[in-house]
């Protein structure tokens, strides 16, 4: 077993770290405070080929492996959870289903714009009354004249919702079939009857665009059905398996970022005449933070490795996401604790990191869902 990163992976880390420090960290607090989507940086990330990095060059992607992808998200999330989220959801949730389940025509039409980041994408599964219970979908798609589907309903909490131009939307085509009655569609911004709700005011990742999508008699051409009718649930679950590696990497990055800040602060904060880093109570706390973060890293890279080697990775991805997100929450909470009163203010980044960490335990399957996935498989 080889525990060494490849030269390519090392360089991805070096480049992404430099980019994160030079371009992402300086605006992280501002985009959080003002709820600004970091458009300029997303443009730069597109030029760097990060927005579609795991997809092949024939579609304009970068053809990287999944470990490189995890590293890229980790490095961005170390300084800004928002930016990590934007990259992860675009790569995995928007490009993924079209790449893995699209016809050649669909791929040729949509992927080049998506994987190069010229257009952003969104993934609409969650509804006001259908979160974990996806079979409770109220959005419907009815085939009319064998020509188009009539799409009606709404989708909640859609990441990149307000900035995307291409969406993968799930809807019931046969309610009686439950999960097997769900189908997936590629929907474009600007189609008649398709509108976006207001931006959600969130606890964390506040620079990302999250909103409701509303469909009122939207005509979706028949050729925009993704996969077969009734295959939607399978497409969603398979997409989320990949997506969880991205979110796990985001959580890992947030944890590492908070740990780095806590260590740095503990060396400069002097109490009782010495830096607080000399106190054994805090040393042990930081040692535990370090161990858990590293353990999370190993789970994340292992899931990415399994994906790269064409193995089933549902379990690995669920473990990585569960452990990394709970680690992110735990580590950021401790990092705030080490900062004391300062950590509770917005003058220090750990406050933001703790808020950003929370979403990683919720989206793309809550921690409870990850446990369900693992329980049924063990």
């Amino acid at each position: 077993m080889d525990y060494k990163l490849t030269q390519e992976q090392e360089m991805v880390r070096k480049v992404m770290r430099k980019f994160a420090l030079e371009k992402v960290e300086p605006i992280a607090a501002e985009i959080d405070e003002q709820e600004i989507f970091p458009e300029e940086n997303v443009k730069l990330l597109s030029e760097m080929g990060v927005m579609g990095m795991i997809y092949p060059k024939e579609y304009g992607g970068s053809g990287t492996d999944s470990i490189s992808y995890a590293i890229a998200i980790e490095e961005l999330s170390k300084v800004c959870g928002t930016t990590g989220c934007i990259v992860a959801s675009h790569n995995s949730l928007a490009c993924g289903p079209i790449y893995f389940f699209g016809t050649k025509e669909q791929k040729d039409k949509y992927l080049p714009d998506l994987v190069t980041g010229r257009k952003l994408g969104g993934f609409g599964l969650t509804e006001p009354n259908a979160g974990t219970d996806s079979a409770a979908q109220e959005t419907t798609a009815v085939l009319v004249d064998d020509e188009y589907y009539l799409l009606n309903g709404s989708k909640m909490f859609i990441t990149n919702g307000g900035v995307a131009e291409t969406y993968v939307i799930f809807a019931m085509t046969d309610k009686s079939q439950g999960n097997r009655g769900i189908s997936a569609f590629i929907v474009e911004k600007g189609w008649e009857g398709f509108s976006q709700g207001p931006h959600e005011k969130k606890m964390g990742i506040r620079g990302s665009s999250t909103c409701e999508l509303i469909f009122e008699n939207v005509k979706v051409p028949k050729e925009n059905l993704l996969g077969r009718e009734g295959q939607g649930f399978k497409i969603a679950m398979s997409t989320l398996d990949s997506g969880r590696i991205g979110i796990a990497a985001q959580a890992l990055g947030i944890a590492q970022g908070a740990l780095d800040k806590a260590i740095e602060y503990s060396k400069t904060r002097v109490q009782f005449g010495r830096p607080i880093s000399t106190k054994q109570g805090l040393q042990w706390m930081m040692a535990d933070m370090h161990v858990r973060t590293e353990a999370a890293r190993q789970l994340v890279y292992r899931a990415a490795y399994a994906k790269d080697h064409q193995k089933r990775f549902t379990e690995e991805a669920a473990m990585a996401k569960l452990y990394a997100s709970e680690t992110a929450m735990w580590v950021t909470t401790k990092a705030v604790q080490i900062h004391g009163g300062y950590g509770f203010t917005r003058d220090y980044p750990v406050e933001r990191m703790m808020r950003d960490a929370k979403i990683t335990e919720i989206y793309e399957g809550t921690s409870e869902v990850q446990r369900m996935v693992l329980a049924v498989r063990s």
């Binding site: 030269q7 060059k57 992607g61 490189s68």
Partner: protein, 260 residues
């Protein structure tokens, strides 16, 4: 166009350790980067390539085999070829010997323009670029902050401490670049994947056949007598929104130190 960029790999820290015996840099254990000014040189070359489709950018670096990673990074940014000039007999070369060696390699190559960084952060000499131009008998412009191309003529802005010059120079020529010239692009993910599929040519003295009297530590005329870390400047005192009383205090303080 044929464009060449000379780059150097340097330690990524201001805390450079120096071997007290030889007075040369200890490279082990210090993370390495492409010298910052050389990044501007690479960007200048790539911008010229973008403006002149079909051009080819070749990176040339002299250094130990570990400098390979610097060249891979340049390839990932979009350069086409990379040559590492590496041989134990080149070790310890000062700027004079280094310029001889790099110029001997460049003689073997075709070029319209050669870009160098102004100076390396480890030695700060700013000598190698201009010396290469002298060895090759090329026109040179140093401290380049802007480049406009018109056929085979370049109009460049040369920044000086108290102003700037606008200089026209005919290609082939050598330019040394400063950070004001541009903002270097980041390597792309696809570029990184490709960079390791490409071959970095290693040129040794077996190929270059340079006379021993022109290369290496023994043939380097520069002798470093002593190196030291300059003492850190003490931070100044800021007096924001000073009122009359504060200003009086500052005045008294300056006077007591005989600055006034």
């Amino acid at each position: 166009m044929k464009i060449i960029v000379c780059v150097k790999q340097v330690p990524d820290t201001s805390e450079v350790r120096i071997d007290p015996k030889t007075n040369t840099l200890i490279r082990e254990g210090v993370p390495s980067i492409i010298n910052p000014d050389d990044m501007n040189a690479i960007e200048a070359a790539l911008a010229m390539k973008d403006a002149n489709p079909g051009s080819e950018v070749t990176l040339v670096c002299m250094g130990p085999p570990q400098a390979d990673v610097a060249l891979r990074e340049g390839l990932a940014m979009g350069c086409d070829k990379a040559i590492l000039i590496t041989d134990r007999v080149f070790g310890g070369s000062d700027t004079w010997a280094t310029s001889n060696i790099i110029a001997s390699a460049l003689v073997e190559m075709e070029y319209d323009v050669i870009f160098c960084g102004r100076q390396a952060i480890d030695g700060d000499t700013a000598q190698v670029g201009p010396q290469i131009a002298e060895c090759l008998d090329l026109p040179q412009v140093s401290y380049v902050a802007d480049i406009k191309q018109n056929g085979d003529t370049l109009t460049v802005q040369r920044n000086l401490e108290d102003g700037y010059q606008i200089i026209e120079v005919k290609m082939p020529c050598l330019l040394t670049c400063i950070k004001e010239l541009n903002e270097p692009r980041y390597p792309s993910m696809g570029g990184i994947m490709d960079a390791y599929q490409q071959e970095v040519e290693h040129w040794t003295n077996e190929k270059l056949q340079i006379d021993a009297s022109l290369i290496g530590l023994k043939s380097s005329p520069t002798k470093v007598n002593r190196t030291f870390t300059p003492p850190a400047k003490e931070p100044g005192i800021l007096v924001p929104d000073a009122d009359v009383e504060e200003i009086a205090k500052v005045y008294k303080d300056l006077k007591s130190k005989h600055y006034l």
